[in-house]
């Protein structure tokens, strides 16, 4: 019977006689790997990470998200956002400049400039001010805004400073070609005015955007709309906004001619 010490000695002797697989020459491969930059430090990986972060940042911002979606010929309809942009304080001066409505004009001059039929809400009568926005600041085909000051039953709205704004632009109003970023509590109802489709949007102030005649996404960046009715008057989108009730807005929209 072998003693334990004897057994250990036999095992130690045995170790020297074992057949081990040949030890590979590890150094060259290890040198290559430790000299190579880790993948996450490579120029391409950094570039890809920067691109992804930039894209993510752009997608967070609704106007660019829309522009990107449009670029890919995809339409993203935004219905609710949790955080709305803070309204930019209105600068002093004429309301057209304060709201970035374009150049001051008159109704006849505006009609002559835009080459399409500018509608007038007869229930409100002649506007107090008229503005025309032309490319590149305005949308393709231009837009015309009629400004109405406060009057009985229609107070000046605090965000716009005017009682009613009627903005007209060439384009089509379909469910996938316009949108508003709506805050919590805002509502949107589909309406029909004299056979024309439209939307009534009320509640929390919202930002309006649409696809213009050139197919580009237009975003209103200088003002936050108040209660608004949008009507597609057969190629002309009419937006009527102000501190209006729904019936007031529908009444004004019905008087467009």
């Amino acid at each position: 019977m072998p003693e334990l010490d004897r057994l250990e000695q036999l095992l130690a002797d045995l170790g020297g006689d074992l057949e081990w697989p040949a030890t590979p020459n590890l150094a060259p491969a290890i040198r290559r790997r430790i000299l190579a930059r880790p993948w996450f430090e490579s120029r391409w990986a950094i570039a890809a990470a920067v691109a992804i972060l930039a894209l993510a940042a752009l997608l967070v911002y609704p106007p660019t998200r829309e522009a990107i979606a449009h670029w890919f010929n995809l339409r993203t309809r935004i219905t609710q956002v949790t955080v709305l942009p803070t309204p930019t304080p209105l600068p002093p001066g004429p309301i057209g400049q304060r709201l970035g409505l374009g150049d001051s004009s008159t109704l006849p001059a505006a009609r002559a400039t835009v080459h399409w039929q500018v509608l007038l809400p007869s229930s409100l009568g002649n506007p107090d001010e008229v503005y025309v926005g032309l490319p590149p600041v305005g949308p393709a085909g231009g837009d015309v805004t009629l400004v109405y000051a406060a009057r009985p039953g229609i107070p000046a709205s605090s965000p716009t400073g005017a009682a009613v704004l009627v903005t007209e632009v060439q384009g089509n109003l379909t469910s996938d070609s316009f949108g508003k970023t709506l805050g919590d509590g805002a509502t949107i109802d589909q309406v029909t005015v004299a056979g024309h489709p439209g939307y009534w949007i009320a509640g929390t102030p919202h930002v309006f955007y649409f696809i213009d005649a050139a197919g580009k996404v237009r975003y209103e960046t200088l003002r936050l709309a108040t209660n608004t009715i949008l009507i597609d008057e057969g190629g002309t989108i009419v937006r009527i906004e102000g501190d209006l009730t729904k019936s007031q807005a529908l009444s004004i929209a019905a008087s467009l001619s």
């Binding site: 334990l4 002797d13 697989p21 590979p24 590890l26």
Partner: protein
């Protein structure tokens, strides 16, 4: 005239400062024990090579955590053995470690007679056969201590167990091997 070989501490200090040539020297010094340690765990030369390579690369990237003055072998073997165990775990299978005697080995002792050499050779083959029949845990601790000639601290690192456990596990493994040797001798 060649100078005295650089000691491990100096090599590690240079490697920690980013001297890749120093680290290459460390790899040369320890690649055999690292590879064989990985082989006893994986039972596969290919897996052992991958584990040793990965282990050395990880060790290089972890050089900042190596404490100056510490023994480098246990530190390196712990990393390589971990890689080997991870490889076995992820593969979901373990190759049976089959240790063999080298062809044409000469048993120790001075000029034995051909008959004595044959008997000694056969005894060793039988002993190795009995080691191979032990449980994986027993085989690993015996292989680490006697075949790889690792210290207690190095064996603990290679097996991923406390040094105190190495002693008790080795003691039990030797006792079981001795029982098998006795049984084989009595047969």
């Amino acid at each position: 005239m060649e100078g005295r070989p650089t000691d491990d501490g100096e090599l590690f200090a240079r490697a920690q400062r980013g001297d890749t040539a120093a680290y290459e020297e460390i790899v040369h010094r320890y690649e055999q024990v690292a590879f064989r340690t990985a082989y006893t765990i994986t039972g596969s030369a290919a897996d052992a090579e991958d584990a040793a390579q990965d282990g050395f690369v990880k060790a290089y990237r972890a050089l900042a955590s190596f404490r100056p003055g510490a023994e480098p072998r246990p530190w390196l073997l712990r990393i390589v053995a971990n890689e080997a165990r991870n490889r076995v775990r992820s593969a979901g299978r373990r190759h049976q470690l089959e240790l063999r005697l080298a062809e044409g080995f000469r048993p120790g002792g001075a000029a034995p007679s051909p008959e004595a050499a044959t008997v000694a050779s056969e005894d060793r083959r039988r002993l190795l056969g009995l080691v191979n029949e032990l449980s994986e845990e027993d085989r690993h601790v015996i292989a680490s201590r006697y075949f790889l000639e690792l210290s207690g601290e190095e064996t603990a690192s290679a097996l991923g167990i406390p040094e105190g456990t190495v002693k008790s596990r080795l003691s039990r493994a030797l006792a079981r091997l001795r029982t098998r040797v006795e049984e084989a001798s009595g047969a």
